[in-house]
């Protein structure tokens, strides 16, 4: 068993090396000095407190959305609709903020209510995909994908329609909310300690939920063998829906944080691809909640670190996306190879 652990680890390390090698080859092909590029990514992400705080700003949504995806993944669901769930969370949050911004309620209560609404919005959107799957027989991948488009259209309609800025609607989003409705920030930085606290709190909650509770065990059982889980008395439909509910709720929370702590308004691309990036994180950690935080941190650092590449090296900042995508591909590839090899060993002995 321990030997197998080491083999697995070695293969994962190999995947990392291969991913870096592949990205290096691409850099060489574009006649860029790879060392320079990597150096700027590192400097750009942890070179200063300000940069690092930006990494954390990117880390929070990724952490939240990935921990939600951990639940749906464990239930055997491909929650592709996570992008739409983030968007709906942001929309619901914006709606409540707009509704209450003129009221006499204290700002803290308004923000709390708005965040709650965001979670509900994301959960509702996920339940739609879940209901389509469990009652309508629509695969969650297709249902989610469809709902993503609907969510995007809904955002655009709101920004250019009912919620447009005074005068004329613009791609820059709705009218920003007053400072009082912002989540408290660290002075001089874009980082909200509250948002960070929420992110860390939820990954810890999900970790214990999936590891130490009957709920988590049942979710895992449904994901690994739904027939047998039913046979052993797990109400499978209910747990599939609960997984959607929880995953969607956390995606909605992500959207709420983006509105209250980052953009302070609804913008057209409010999900910023964090949903898809979260899917990559969840795939990479292979159901283990413990690894979500470090991997999400690494991905966030890549995101932020590559921002200055276009300025200094005339490289597009999508290089971080290349590295992230390639990394996931190689990890999965190496895992496939490892399983093939160990199976052969097992068969031979």
């Amino acid at each position: 068993m321990t030997r197998q652990r080491w083999i697995t680890l070695a293969f994962q390390f190999g995947a990392l090396v291969l991913a870096l090698g592949f990205t290096t080859l691409i850099l060489l092909a574009t006649e860029t000095d790879p060392w320079q590029a990597y150096k700027y990514i590192i400097i750009g992400s942890i070179g200063s407190l300000r940069k690092f705080s930006d990494v954390l700003v990117s880390f929070i949504p990724l952490l939240l959305v990935s921990s939600g995806l951990l639940v749906t993944f464990s239930a055997g669901l491909w929650n592709i609709g996570v992008e739409g769930q983030i968007t709906l969370g942001a929309i619901a949050t914006t709606w409540v903020l707009r509704l209450l911004q003129g009221s006499s309620l204290p700002p803290g209560v308004i923000i709390a209510l708005a965040i709650l609404a965001g979670m509900l919005g994301g959960a509702a959107w996920a339940c739609l995909a879940g209901a389509l799957k469990t009652y309508g027989g629509v695969n969650e991948i297709f249902g989610g994908l469809g709902l993503n488009f609907v969510a995007t259209a809904l955002t655009l309609w709101l920004i250019f329609g009912p919620w447009k800025r005074p005068g004329i609607g613009s791609m820059s989003g709705t009218e920003p909310f007053p400072d009082s409705l912002w989540m408290p920030m660290i002075p001089g930085l874009r980082l909200s300690p509250w948002a960070l606290g929420i992110g860390v709190l939820f990954i810890i909650l999900i970790y214990f939920l999936m590891k130490g509770t009957h709920f988590g065990l049942r979710i895992k059982a449904v994901g690994k063998n739904i027939k047998a889980a039913y046979l052993h008395g797990v109400p499978t439909t209910r747990y599939l829906m609960l997984a959607f509910l929880l995953g969607g709720g956390l995606a909605g929370l992500t959207g709420a944080i983006q509105v209250t702590a980052v953009y302070h308004r609804l913008i057209p691309s409010i999900s910023s691809g964090y949903g898809f990036l979260g899917l990559l994180v969840a795939m990479l950690v292979n159901y283990q909640a413990l690894w979500v935080a470090p991997v999400a941190m690494f991905f966030a650092a890549l995101n932020i670190g590559s921002i200055q590449l276009p300025i200094v090296l005339k490289l597009d900042s999508t290089l971080s996306g290349v590295l992230q995508g390639v990394l996931v591909l190689f990890v999965m590839l190496m895992d496939g190879i490892r399983q093939k090899i160990t199976k052969r060993w097992g068969g031979g002995s």
Partner: protein, 498 residues
């Protein structure tokens, strides 16, 4: 075309599926291949039709030795096989299916193909419409389509694997006529079946396989008794079945009727006492599974009532049945019964009563250790179930059966177990009987059915016998009933005796 098989051998790991099988089939005849499930019939036919390759041995056609590497090879040599489940493409039209497998051009000549199809249909008097979709057809019609396709591809030898499962008696009659017509045209027909009556009605000659060996060989007219004996081996002397029946009805079926895709069962009246063991005998797919599934609430009956422990459960779902004390153990261990990726203790936690939100890990580890000891499972609480051997997985499933248990439905509870494990398993099951659980189980091992059940229900293509007393039934009688023979006399006779 004359087919000669010479000393065909095929092993799957330790299992000798075919051992030194030699057989000559002259052209223009219908050859029956008879044997129990797992006797090696399908393996032999798959070798002949190119789906798998023999380890040793030789195949010759009309005296010429050939090698068959793939199904396409086989059809080139004129050998075509009709599978138990038709290998067609339901969402496509008949004519598209007909064309499949035809080596050909990008744009087929539809007119001539349709003409050919109609000509073949007329020849065999099939009423198939070329432009309907395959999913509209019955199993019998799909067989007809497949036969036409094979003939059109130039098959001289047609192999049919259990073709009479799931078709109506009218369609069976039609099929037999067709096959006789084909033999009359000089084609060779190989008919694989476990049904004695079908073989008797159709075949000119028959061989019997048992445990991978060719053990019998007869020409028409057949001696049915001898065939049954060769199919199941020597009659076995029976030990007494231990009766634990209590004076309480665990399960009552009133005028029950069930329907599944291929099978319909009607008029089941049955009362099973607590502590009683009921064995279901019959070839796979004769209706045992829907019967068991109905008793667990997985399949809703179309008519009649199901009462568990005196309570009417008709129309309720499985969780309600489970609540009422019904446990189900499926045959496919890792597919339906256990959850690969979870450990033993996680299984016991899942199946057990959950108290509180958090898992009391210490409690469940301890509980699992007790069960491991009690059921003699070779494994640790933290062993993933897929790492256990088949026998230990089986024991784990037994240990997972719920407490209290009023009715246990077990599909092949001892399949794949060695003899010691079988005895152990049954000793554990009999313990549950003493606690008042009734057991219904299926098995393809007739000896096991006779040995461990108090009463036996025989299934034959949707027909269910009256309960037979296991003490008054012999293995030959069971064999005959399973093959669809002597239903009128034996079933009635034993029913009176019971």
């Amino acid at each position: 075309m004359e087919i000669k098989l010479n000393q065909i051998c095929k092993n799957f790991g330790k299992l000798q599926a075919n051992q030194d099988i030699s057989l000559t089939i002259p052209g223009g005849t219908i050859q029956g291949i008879l044997g129990e499930n797992g006797a090696g019939k399908s393996t032999l036919m798959k070798i002949l039709s190119g789906y798998i390759q023999a380890d040793r041995g030789e195949i010759s056609l009309d005296g010429k030795s050939i090698r068959i590497h793939s199904p396409a090879d086989a059809i080139q040599h004129g050998i075509g096989m009709l599978h138990q489940d038709p290998l067609d493409f339901p969402p496509m039209r008949l004519i598209d299916n007909f064309l499949l497998g035809q080596p050909g051009r990008l744009f087929p000549d539809w007119k001539s193909v349709v003409g050919e199809f109609k000509r073949l249909c007329d020849q065999f008097d099939f009423s198939l419409q070329y432009d309907t979709y395959v999913d509209m057809l019955t199993v019998g019609e799909r067989q007809q389509l497949e036969i036409l396709r094979l003939l059109w591809l130039g098959a001289q030898v047609i192999i049919l694997d259990e073709p009479t499962t799931g078709i109506s008696s009218l369609q069976k009659q039609k099929l037999f006529e067709t096959l006789k017509l084909l033999a009359g045209q000089g084609k060779t027909v190989i008919f694989v079946s476990h049904k004695l009556e079908d073989v008797e009605a159709l075949c000119d000659r028959v061989v019997v396989l048992r445990q991978g060996k060719l053990v019998g060989d007869q020409l028409k007219p057949f001696n049915a008794k001898k065939l049954v004996n060769s199919m199941f081996g020597k009659p076995v002397s029976l030990k007494e079945s231990k009766g634990h029946a209590l004076d309480r009805v665990a399960l009552e079926l009133r005028d029950l009727a069930l329907e599944e895709e291929r099978i319909q069962i009607k008029d089941i009246h049955l009362k099973i006492q607590a502590g009683e063991v009921i064995g279901l005998a019959g070839m796979e797919g004769s209706g045992q599974r829907p019967f068991m599934q109905a008793c667990a609430g997985f399949l809703r009956p179309v008519h009649g009532h199901i009462l568990v422990d005196g309570r009417d459960m008709t129309g309720k779902n499985y969780p309600a049945f489970k609540q009422q004390g019904v446990g189900y153990m499926p045959a496919a261990r890792l597919e339906e019964g256990l959850i690969p990726g979870l450990t033993l203790s996680e299984h016991f936690t899942l199946a057990g009563k959950s108290e509180g939100f958090f898992i009391n890990d210490g409690h469940w580890q301890e509980y699992t250790r007790e069960k491991i000891q009690d059921f003699n499972i070779k494994g640790k609480p933290n062993s993933p179930v897929e790492s256990l051997s088949g026998g230990n997985q089986q024991r784990a499933m037994l240990a997972l059966l719920q407490q209290p248990l009023k009715l246990a439905l077990l599909e092949h509870p001892t399949r794949g177990l060695d003899i010691e494990s079988v005895i152990y398993t049954w000793s554990k099951l009999k313990e549950r009987c003493c606690d008042g659980a009734a057991i219904i189980f299926t098995s393809s091992d007739l000896e096991e059915v006779l040995l461990y059940s108090d009463r036996i229900l025989v299934f034959f293509s949707g027909k269910v016998s009256a309960p037979l007393s296991s003490r008054k039934t012999s293995i030959e009688q069971l064999g005959n009933l399973i093959g669809g023979k002597d239903w009128a006399t034996i079933a009635a006779g034993v029913e009176v005796a019971a």
